[in-house]
């Protein structure tokens, strides 16, 4: 018996070694870099043909970026934007994840609250920003609130869906070893739902960034959104593009960071799915 165990475990580790072996060919980052270089070159060539009011191109945007950085405007705007973003987004995670878990796990809570979450996801928040400004003023609080409201729902809904996708058999394991409801939620449902939660957070990053800019458009006083709208009003298109590009780069970096966290907290997920794409 021990011998067959050894043999099957050997075969197994060979299989593991095979899947983790590096695939030949160009690494992913190189493909991405080439794609970016081609894209930027094309933009530069065609962007220069256009009237600078109607469009811009990478070198002009880079020059504007340099100006804004030297004057300290960009740094100031970035801080003004990121602080409320972090607070709002953090609150959205703190509220959204537990709320989603509880809605998914308990039928009564789902029936009582689920409908608000589903409806809230489709809420045209832009229309409500003026009202929120009346309540919360023009500064930090209103930005954080808008970011939170926009990112809360995808996080909550994904956590909720994740719970409903937890195999019943794993819950049975908890029950048969006499785990309490709370223990089942914490030790079985939460880890099993983690990949869904992380996907929800990823979706929410994009929505949160958009929410932040919308809030700043309305107030037009501070942050990257204010830089965008003020530059646009002055027909300074290259300058307008600077915060747009900065935000896109930031969101991409944040997405990569969340991906890295996901692989760290849920390493089994990548291995089960085998993420081996060509």
């Amino acid at each position: 018996m021990a011998e067959t165990a050894d043999r099957s475990s050997l075969a197994r580790s060979a299989a593991v070694a095979l899947t983790t072996e590096r695939r030949s060919g160009m690494p992913r980052w190189q493909i991405t870099a080439i794609s970016l270089a081609v894209m930027l070159t094309l933009w530069e060539i065609f962007g220069r043909q256009i009237n600078p009011v109607f469009g811009s191109y990478p070198t002009a945007i880079a020059a504007a970026f340099w100006d804004l950085t030297l004057s300290g405007e960009l740094e100031k705007a970035l801080i003004q934007s990121l602080q409320p973003f972090c607070v709002g987004f953090g609150l959205a995670i703190l509220v959204g994840v537990p709320l989603g878990l509880v809605i998914g796990r308990f039928r009564a809570v789902e029936a009582a609250i689920g409908i608000y979450v589903t409806a809230g996801y489709a809420m045209p928040l832009v229309a409500l920003v003026p009202l929120l400004m009346l309540w919360l003023g023009l500064g930090f609080a209103v930005k954080a609130a808008v970011v939170m409201l926009m990112s809360l729902f995808p996080i909550c809904i994904n956590s909720w869906l994740g719970v409903t996708a937890v195999p019943k058999s794993l819950i049975d394991v908890g029950k048969s070893f006499v785990a309490s409801d709370q223990t089942i939620l914490r030790r079985i449902v939460l880890p099993a739902t983690l990949p869904y939660i992380m996907a929800g957070i990823r979706l929410a990053v994009g929505r949160g960034v958009v929410a932040m800019i919308i809030a700043e458009f309305f107030t037009a006083l501070s942050g990257l959104g204010a830089v965008i709208i003020n530059s646009a009003n002055n027909f300074d298109t290259a300058r307008m593009f600077v915060p747009v590009v900065v935000l896109m780069v930031l969101a991409t970096a944040l997405n990569a960071l969340i991906g890295a966290i996901e692989r760290r907290v849920a390493p089994w997920q990548a291995e089960i799915a085998g993420r081996d794409r060509r």
């Binding site: 067959t4 165990a5 075969a11 197994r12 794993l170 048969s176 099993a192 983690l194 089960i272």
Partner: protein, 260 residues
Amino acid sequence: MGEVSLIDVTKHFTLRVGREAHTVRALEGVSFTVRDGEIVALIGPSGCGKTTALRIAMGLETATAGRVTVDGKEVRACGHDRGMVFQQAELLPWLTAQENVEFGLEMKGMRGELLHQTARRYLELVGLQASSNRRPYQLSGGMQQRVGIARALAIDPKVLLMDEPFGALDAQTREGLQAELLDLHARTQKTILFVTHDLDEAVVLADRVVVMREGRVRETIPVPLPRPREDPATVRGRPEFATTRYQIWRAVHDLPVTVH
């Protein structure tokens, strides 16, 4: 001690097909006892209610009527006096083999160094000490089920309940694990109730075979093979093996037991 009895257990549930509601009679007055240290196999065609009976014995489902007792005391919910082994092992994928065994023990309130030691001892018992740090997806199906068995045995239950524990494994691995289970039983003398649809498995492992059909116990067939059992290869060659297997086969197929 470890004796589990189902007494007159009935289970009905409502199944909605389109607009019609059907009452499904999954179990009708099922009674049998697994005596202390005995291995009993629950066999029957699929849909006969054998898994439902086992899940009611575990407390994962409630009976419409009837009682389940362990050592004469009625049980109404899951308890540490019964250990469950699931069909697909059902290990928690984010935990290592060691941590999966520890999970069951922690639910029993065990902590600290004793927890680690106990889990390690049971992994050794099923021959997996070298793989204790692997996660389930790094283990073969047979190894996963051994962890499942270790997890259930570790809480030292009075009764081990197994739901087609080897049904998802290939024939070779299955036979290996059957031999291993016999060995475990010889060493621990645990009372075992297991569900299977495999006639050979029932004869090789069990002292008695309870045959179910359409939610009722139709027959209980004793297996006239001595304990401790010889290794399964030898057992399969014995004439009693063939006759008992044939007897069970006729009972499962609802044919009268007449040997020509």
